[in-house]
Symmetry: C2
């Protein structure tokens, strides 16, 4: 998907919500477990109940790989289902990959071709040749981890460079942005530290940010919008468990819609 | 596999060779492509030809994921085959994963349970909660990227911390080692900068190192042993393309054995 189409969908739906399909088979409603592919069936019902409220969906590959070959089949069915929706959605493989050049090309083929995702999340530790191969695919996106929302973010991402006092996440932003453009690169910036979004915006005013950590992890949507929004919105705010596991009964899809609707309504006034 | 057993195998085989099963379907011999599962058949023949010379095998998951569900099936067959060899080998999923805590647990299940690997490679960017879940599995290993052998290693891994002048890869070594032990943690340190192995050994004298970059990527085995070996050898030196693609004809397994034998013979005098 092109950036213009993403921005168009955001305005159409008055939403910059991304729904994380972290569809842990041990947490999905038990009445679905009798289905041939319970994880896909769960995803399908969540998607059907929320597709008019969300502009993006983001399966985290860990929850599929943990089920081996079967999980990979569920993931394939899920992306195929997302890609045939009447209203297009932006699709993100939350895979956090990153390897040397020729190997990264294989990952790009995995997620952009074998599975037809619009975007993949990437870890920056191995530098340019681990990221650049993903930028060679037309209308596909690399979403690079800059500042994550977990406790471990404080272990390395705030190390200060003695040359220029930049924190590591800032070095990642400054260097990485030159490898691509605002049309094929985004950055992950956690919402648990919303005021840092302002610092991030100094380095990358125009890029889209993928923001986890709103809701369950404690970040506020208003704060995120205040510090992170740009003239084309420039935000995809993710919620996973808060939506998909809002209920674990037979009403799970309905409750997921209610949660998504609450967030979408908050977003509508911010856009 | 326990560390003692790994060390035992190294002495038995007089080898610390790890063979990288980067089995790119576009590079395997064409006569194999008519097999039902050509990548598995290729791996099987490589393994049969080299299992007495190598102590470890390391499929890089990218080359399997790029083929979608089929690739995941080839990977499953390959690890199952490795796990039934008469002489045990150490198995590494070169997956370079890393995610927030509950998600990392899913990756651990994927590679330690759904697939029964001994070890997985991990990216350190997200810190402790992205690594620790892998250390909760008995006799399983986390192999953390410290200093990689690619060009992009220079982008971030050498950034100097203004607090203590440590380079980023040193901060990773110093902090990460405290999360596990020499019995469940190793580090990736590239051989293209062999003299840096000495610097690495100051921080982690006793850990095993997984060393890529010998051969095709230019590192010398003698240099690696000189700077990197410890009293229990402490090295797994990987070679991928130089062995598995030594020939692309019908003699590929025989030629792979010849290349592996050359390296094993060099290793035998160094142990």
């Amino acid at each position: 998907m092109k950036r213009a189409e993403l921005v168009n969908q955001i305005h159409k739906k008055k939403s910059f919500l991304c729904i994380g399909l972290d569809s842990d088979i041990t947490k999905i409603p038990t009445h679905i477990l009798s289905e041939a592919d319970p994880v896909f069936e769960f995803n399908k019902q969540i998607i059907d109940a929320t597709a008019d409220l969300a502009v993006a969906y983001k399966p985290n590959t860990a929850f599929y790989e943990s089920r081996g070959v079967e999980g990979w089949i569920s993931l394939k069915k899920t992306i195929d289902y997302l890609n045939q929706l009447a209203q297009p959605v932006f699709t993100i493989a939350d895979a956090k990959r990153g390897d040397i050049g020729n190997t990264s090309t294989q990952y790009a083929k995995a997620f952009f071709e074998a599975l037809n995702f619009d975007a993949i999340t990437l870890a920056p530790y191995m530098g340019q040749d681990s990221i650049s191969p993903f930028l060679q695919f037309k209308d596909k996106w690399a979403i690079v981890l800059a500042l994550t929302s977990n406790q471990g973010a404080f272990d390395f991402q705030f190390i200060q460079n003695q040359e220029n006092q930049d924190k590591l996440f800032e070095s990642v932003l400054k260097k990485t942005k030159s490898w691509g453009s605002t049309e094929n690169m985004m950055f992950v910036v956690g919402a648990t530290k919303a005021e840092l979004l302002g610092q991030v915006r100094k380095h990358i005013p125009d890029h889209f940010l993928l923001v986890p950590g709103v809701g369950a992890q404690g970040g506020s949507l208003q704060e995120v919008a205040k510090y992170g929004m740009n003239k084309e919105v420039g935000l995809l705010v993710n919620s996973s468990r808060g939506i998909i596991f809002a209920s674990r009964g037979t009403d799970f899809a309905e409750k997921a819609r209610e949660e998504a609707l609450k967030i979408q309504q908050e977003m509508a006034v911010l856009i």
